[in-house]
């Protein structure tokens, strides 16, 4: 049983053949006719989303017009490089691997992050590991406040609530990772006359789980309309390696193991898929609760959090605001 099939629900079962044909057709039209580029760059983390996007791009344009990038850094999990190499080999595409640790060190990513962590946990040292976490949405209702968790070299863990300045500095510093990666993706896209793909699934796109001008920047986002369970189904349909199909979602951003649930979504991806689908289709918490194996009030809490995240991250989807419209440019964008 794969991760995506842990909970099944007919409403989220994807007709993968039809969906993949639609995506492949759209990629071809978008790259050639709208973007006027000759191929696509895909950053491959070894996770399910980027692997599915890479495979769909290859189906659309062929392996010679897809360029893969592996961009690990010192906090990446040991699996990242191995699994990203696995998908590169599986797809038969040209790819380049660049360790971005030196770039991140030069811009101060680790220094700013560690300085902020030490402001709340003074003993945090160079050999410690860290992550930031949110409380679960399924426990007692609480305000959404991040804590930092650190682990000493001998395995001792400490946790502290983050005040605003430390929280903002940690997030700002770690956002360098996504922005540096995107800078390198566009370097290769520019030199090859290619366009850049973004790899968010529907949960990430809808809930703003991306860095503006980091992983949120792209010319095309081929699976932004697919729920996470549907991405797993698509991976199986496309015949991706089992090790990738079975990899749980991870942020791979902090040095301690961290899943997307504790970092951002606060519920499992299956629960969020079901609640998000239910909310999008006007279903009440009473209807969704038995499907998600939750209490009605828990579903209502997830619904409220979905709305709150949409409000909070709306600006991440916004284009730069203009004081007056420039209609000629808007007209050009439409044609």
């Amino acid at each position: 049983m794969t991760i995506g099939q842990a909970i099944t629900w007919d409403a989220l079962t994807l007709d993968c053949e039809k969906a993949s044909e639609q995506i492949v057709k759209s990629i071809r039209e978008s790259v050639g006719n709208k973007l006027k580029r000759r191929g696509l760059v895909v950053a491959l983390s070894g996770g399910i989303d980027s692997s599915v996007v890479g495979a769909l791009c290859v189906r659309a344009l062929g392996p010679k017009r897809v360029f893969g990038l592996q961009l690990p850094e010192r906090d990446s999990s040991s699996e990242t490089l191995a699994l990203s190499q696995l998908i590169v080999d599986h797809l038969g595409i040209e790819a380049e691997s660049t360790d971005i640790t030196d770039i991140l060190t030069a811009v101060g990513c680790y220094r700013y992050r560690d300085e902020a962590i030490r402001s709340v946990i003074p003993e945090y040292g160079p050999d410690y590991k860290c992550k930031i976490v949110l409380p679960s949405l399924l426990g007692p209702e609480s305000m959404r406040v991040f804590s930092v968790v650190v682990e000493s070299p001998d395995g001792l863990q400490s946790r502290a609530r983050l005040p605003l300045s430390a929280y903002l500095q940690i997030v700002a510093a770690t956002n360098f990772k996504q922005r540096v990666r995107k800078t390198l993706e566009y370097f290769h896209a520019d030199r090859l006359n290619y366009a850049v793909t973004g790899t968010p699934n529907r949960q990430e796109y809808d809930q703003g789980f991306f860095v503006k001008l980091g992983d949120g920047a792209a010319d095309i986002k081929p699976i932004a309309h697919l729920y996470k369970m549907q991405v797993y189904q698509m991976a199986e349909y496309l015949g991706l390696p089992q090790a990738i199909c079975e990899r749980p979602p991870t942020t791979d951003t902090y040095s301690m193991p961290q899943d997307q649930e504790e970092f951002y979504f606060s519920v499992s991806h299956t629960v969020l898929d079901i609640c998000l689908y239910g909310k999008n289709h006007g279903m009440t918490p009473e209807e969704i609760a038995p499907i998600a194996s939750l209490e009605v009030e828990q579903v209502a809490h997830v619904y409220r959090d979905i709305e709150a995240k949409r409000r909070t991250t709306r600006y991440q989807h916004m284009a730069p605001l203009l004081i007056e419209p420039v209609p000629e440019i808007q007209a050009n964008a439409l044609h």
Binding site: S142, M143, R144, V145, R161, L168
Partner: protein, 85 residues
């Protein structure tokens, strides 16, 4: 010290850039969209520093913090407990 007035003033001056016309002191921060999670974190920092109180993790509930009125009531209770101690 008027706790409610100070909290409201802080929100108007620092989060709403001086536009306090639409601030309903009983409105839910979460539902009205006045405060996002960052604004909420900012407000916790303000009341802890301004009123010299410490707020425990398990006190961070909507019951205590989801409106100007609820927040000022909670802060006043903390101040009263501190005065007795």
């Amino acid at each position: 010290m008027n706790v409610k007035h100070e909290i409201r003033t802080y929100i108007v001056e620092n989060i709403l850039f001086g536009d306090g016309d639409g601030v309903d002191e009983n409105a839910s921060f979460q539902e009205s969209g006045i405060l996002d999670s960052t604004g909420f974190l900012e407000l916790i920092g303000f009341v802890e520093e301004r009123f010299d109180i410490s707020i425990a993790d398990d006190e961070l509930s909507p019951e205590h913090f989801d409106s100007v009125v609820k927040m000022s009531t909670f802060v006043e209770q903390k101040l009263a407990a501190k005065a007795v101690a």
